[in-house]
Symmetry: C2
Amino acid sequence: MALIVQKYGGTSVGNPERIKNVARRVAKQRAQGDQVVVVVSAMSGVTDGLIKLSKEITALPSEREMDMLLATGEQQTIALTAIALHALDVPAVSLTGAQAGIVTDGVHTKAKIRNITPQQVHQLLDAGNVVIVAGFQGETSEGQITTLGRGGSDLTAIALAAALKADLCQIFTDVDGVYTADPRLVPGARKLPEIAYDEMLELAGSGAKVMQLRSVEFAKKFDVVFEVRSSLNDNPGTLVKEETSSMEDVVVRGVSLDKNQAKVTLFGVPDQPGRAARIFRALSDATINVDMIVQNVSHDGGGRATDLSFTVDKPDLLKATHVIDGLKPGVGFKEAVADEQIAKLSIVGVGMRSHSGVAAKMFDVLAHEQVNIAMISTSEIKISVVIQLSQGEQALRALHTAFIG
Amino acid sequence: MALIVQKYGGTSVGNPERIKNVARRVAKQRAQGDQVVVVVSAMSGVTDGLIKLSKEITALPSEREMDMLLATGEQQTIALTAIALHALDVPAVSLTGAQAGIVTDGVHTKAKIRNITPQQVHQLLDAGNVVIVAGFQGETSEGQITTLGRGGSDLTAIALAAALKADLCQIFTDVDGVYTADPRLVPGARKLPEIAYDEMLELAGSGAKVMQLRSVEFAKKFDVVFEVRSSLNDNPGTLVKEETSSMEDVVVRGVSLDKNQAKVTLFGVPDQPGRAARIFRALSDATINVDMIVQNVSHDGGGRATDLSFTVDKPDLLKATHVIDGLKPGVGFKEAVADEQIAKLSIVGVGMRSHSGVAAKMFDVLAHEQVNIAMISTSEIKISVVIQLSQGEQALRALHTAFIG
């Protein structure tokens, strides 16, 4: 008998018919003799509808009250899912995040899980029930309702799996698993049977949208093996787990293209300590997330100036150029140029650590495709380049062919 | 500084605009220096929508899960109401029933309040907040979410007012208060400035639909003075309170007409002990609520048989006649006759206790209107008669004119 945590997202529980499908799937798992904990999101559209109501009252609702409001979405789904399981004669009990023992800090709308005391979940499981837990929510130790922010239901599932010492955590979604590349862009993309946490993290950070970084980070930290799979079929998905030695045989696990970035280059930045710090502090204070940063070696004769490029999410570009313009007198750069027509292309694989020449091969492939590289950034298991947006998909396919086949 | 509990029903908080209106009203009260606790229902339509979702899954959802589901309706309203108060710069904090300390028994969907520990409400009030409490819900001492059944939000308000020792409890609704008769049927009906608990109970039991009996009973038991008033205007409403000696000066406080009853008469019931018990036990087992019961004196020569009439809610009539038909062999009555074309007409007033001749005057008025009386039933402060449905409204107006003017 295994203990399995299954998480179903908002689309999977989007209406009564789909909730009945989820119940059938859960019932099947339980019929195999397993204990099942189900984590569900709000029905698709419910959270947005509640946000809309609040916005009709005021533009800036209090975060505590938004948590009170939004937590109802998941609470509705757990009740309906329990009702659907009862209709299949499966004993089931729903629990809010608070009832499931999920204790968070007090940072409303993006609370962090502090600890989980899953006694009640264990008791209900031992009494033969399927236990259905509201994702995305918890409670402070003072009894305030909190929500976990984006990707919160995945986090609930993974954290519960850790606390319950579950044998497996399954994240059901509308894709079949993690692919070597986005199948809509690369026809030859293949589903990966397994992937290392670090690869998943680098892929997620490179524009692959399967899961939020924080859930993967949490899984890595607490060594929770989880499977990303589809709620629409019975195909096996992708196991996300600690790196194994055999994983290193594959140099590149996946390639990804992020078309949602823009580049800003500051020309003639005086090459003195503290200039870069001032720039990125100002961007951070404006809550602008900077992804790649590249500083070229000084080129201005006596090494007194340098060029600095960085990328930001496209929607933040206007805000970023405003911040940068304001810094011009203080920092003393010559000119700032923004470019929206870029894409970030990444290859990811733990095998890179033990294989040399990966970067050279990547640049060769791009050169062969007449793709010019504007920025390069590398980590131990990832190489990212910024190229022209118009060449993005062609370059993605070429890299997939070259490294994955 | 007074402590006031205000309750707003589903229509009063039916959309963001109306919630903003409620917030303005609350803010005005607070600006007078009062501490305000607000109890709200689910937005109109929300509870029905959730019930519909559950019915799409199964016809008989579990009551525990229905409570989990329906409690979200009020939770949404409290958050939105707090948000609306913040938008008016009024500090406000929302609390679920559980957070407000409302502890109930474990009878899901119709739980009874066991006790209220309002420390948190007091603390939040003392810190200058308006406290917004979800009506209709509570929590068992084991932490299970419960709901209080029909009229539950009124009950929450009155029970909170008792626990908080509030100076006043205001029930805001879509009528201006309690009237001497239904103004839609009696053009001369007047709003009552005050009414005794017992009168309110008898009127509620006679078809006046302002409030559920249980909330009035609770208020009487714990001596909570409450005011029924409109959320659409600033008119004073009706104070419901303990009977005062001056109330006895008025013989009849109100007249009411209940067109939702049907009459069943059993002819030739053997006049032996236990026959009536058997009949009403069977009806009760079928969860049929019997209102008036009248047994005529025996008429069958040697006193061996009697006629028995009773009234039930019209929707229960079919079920009742089935039950009665099944009893025919056992009880041994001759014939059962059902009549849907009836109405129950009542006059209510604590003054009846000290005034004689009220019944005689009532029958005189009805005789003068050529209204035939089919059944009569009296209590200390009420006289009810069953008459033909077609004469109901005319008779109601005649009684109003005769007793109230």
